[in-house]
């Protein structure tokens, strides 16, 4: 399926490398953890998404979908985000589980009695330890990775695919369809 038999370009190699590493990481996830996370998200009065840098960007894309499904969702750091209440779900994306703001956010929301779903590349981080539901993404390291998927690329790419697949679960759990989502599509000018 490659255009020719010669060495594929960095573009071709990178896009396949990312796809394969992400698929491996998602296949390793415990299905029970996904089910627990989906249940929490489907029932939470509100979900608050947080991530620093590119992880936060992927989190925003997820929050948009939650709203289109008819759930109440906020991004911590945006203008209109209210306070977290007991029973709300907080979904933190953090590749290395190290950013101070993620840890501080996690501590605050646990103290408030909210449920904490942590999506992270490091299952042993402090952030992982204080989670209610842990979604750990493990990527095997190899010499090609730094050139084909530098920094948090694999984590961020896996986070988008994972959250999009959670959306498919939520559609079923909530009896929603693409059509009902489309009717909740915000004004985009």
């Amino acid at each position: 399926m490659t255009p020719d038999a010669v060495e594929p370009s960095p573009f071709v190699r990178a896009q396949r490398y990312i796809a394969d590493r992400v698929t491996e990481a998602l296949d390793r996830l415990d299905p029970a953890a996904i089910t627990t996370a989906v249940d929490l998200l489907a029932r939470a009065p509100a979900t608050f998404v947080y991530g620093a840098g590119r992880s936060g960007i992927i989190g925003r894309a997820f929050a948009t979908r939650l709203v289109q499904i008819g759930l109440t969702a906020y991004v911590i750091g945006e203008s209109v985000t209210p306070i977290v209440h007991r029973g709300d779900a907080v979904f933190i994306l953090s590749g290395r589980g190290e950013s101070q703001s993620s840890i501080q956010t996690a501590n605050i929301v646990r103290r408030e009695g909210a449920e904490l779903i942590v999506l992270t590349g490091r299952a042993t981080s402090k952030l992982a330890h204080i989670s209610t539901v842990l979604l750990p993404l493990q990527f095997s390291e190899d010499p090609d990775r730094p050139r084909l998927a530098p920094l948090g690329t694999l984590f961020e790419s896996a986070s988008l695919r994972l959250t999009d697949a959670v959306v498919a679960e939520l559609l079923r759990a909530r009896g929603e369809t693409e059509e009902s989502m489309r009717r909740r599509h915000a004004i985009i000018v």
Copy 2:
């Protein structure tokens, strides 16, 4: 109260110039329009704020306060903004009433049956004409203005003071206090 009798610095001149021009513009506002706008905002199931560029930035600051007062507010363009429903209030800030996105947003929300509050520096713009409530800000032009308050400075500054004063009205109308607002202060890490 000036530091000395010599020519005041651009800093001193600008801050006073802005304060005085903004006070004049706010004093010229029809109190009945403010009352109508406050009533709409106090009763709307949700308020959607929109502005392009620096006007949108001031709009975000207003939306944050609406949420702290216990109202439901969104910024059009942020990730979690749902659709506008009949009866919702839409608050558009537009200095010249000309940005395509503001006009398009206004047309969409009027078609949906939402109430449209327009805060603008041009009472004769197309945007002003389709508003439910018009809050026109008029600034007298003079030769100092371009150096002391270039581009939309006066409009943006007046918009912040106006919306902050609307917050004082909403506090009374909703029986809220600084203390109740503080308890709704979002996590800021």
Copy 3:
């Protein structure tokens, strides 16, 4: 590799469905168009990224990487974005090629003499027609798609993988490494 032989969950089906459809779409891309786009991005004095909604979110993730590679990049709509000059590259992501703001942005930047790279799911849109370089993503439609990848999910997922693979090309073209990118990692608190 599925956890059991029974019907896989929506989560498992969706994540694989998305991966496969995205791989197909990226395999169909003309390698020459990717090469042209990479050349433009590697040489442009500045690159401006634009997208509405979730497309814009993916665009932000790409802009962050361009900056880490040592290129100058901006997101149209953020606070510090300067004007576009002749020779700059503008990268617009638009699933359906229909948003007014994307078309208006495209018209403005072409008038200024900037190069326009359009990543879109509709190669026949007006937006596609005014591009300098067109990167069309084609997804075959089937009855599972609405439940497994509703709305623009495939386009957005393909956009993230495509732009991440462009980053791998730019790393080589510019002689950059993960280490040099890490040293340009912004303060994230």
Copy 4:
């Protein structure tokens, strides 16, 4: 100048209260501190603005103006913000000088050798102590303040007026005009 002799509305009282308290606070500022801050901003290779919540919103409005003046400016937390270098200016707005993210940002930038301008309502905070240039805003407290200007209203309003007045200084220092600024006005769609 009030429309009638009866008790003025909360709107009228609030807008005047804010204007007067802000004027007092700005008049108390040491002109030498403003001059030092303006000099730093006029010469810095790049300026990085940071603030949490509404303070950050006002910071974004300032960053937009710096770019229009022809300076290089970034908002810490936006997608395209590069790293801070020795000699760059960092401008932090923090009403109470207490947010962890502001303090952490300040510590990082001082370690990198950047100049730190702190605009704050608390001259005795830890943040104030590590600044290169301190711009302290002092507001006298009184019983009307909580209803007319709750939470950080006075600080934020003073921050906008102060930064707009700094823009007037920078216009002169850099030989810029409203017309040259207008030519740098970003695409706003």
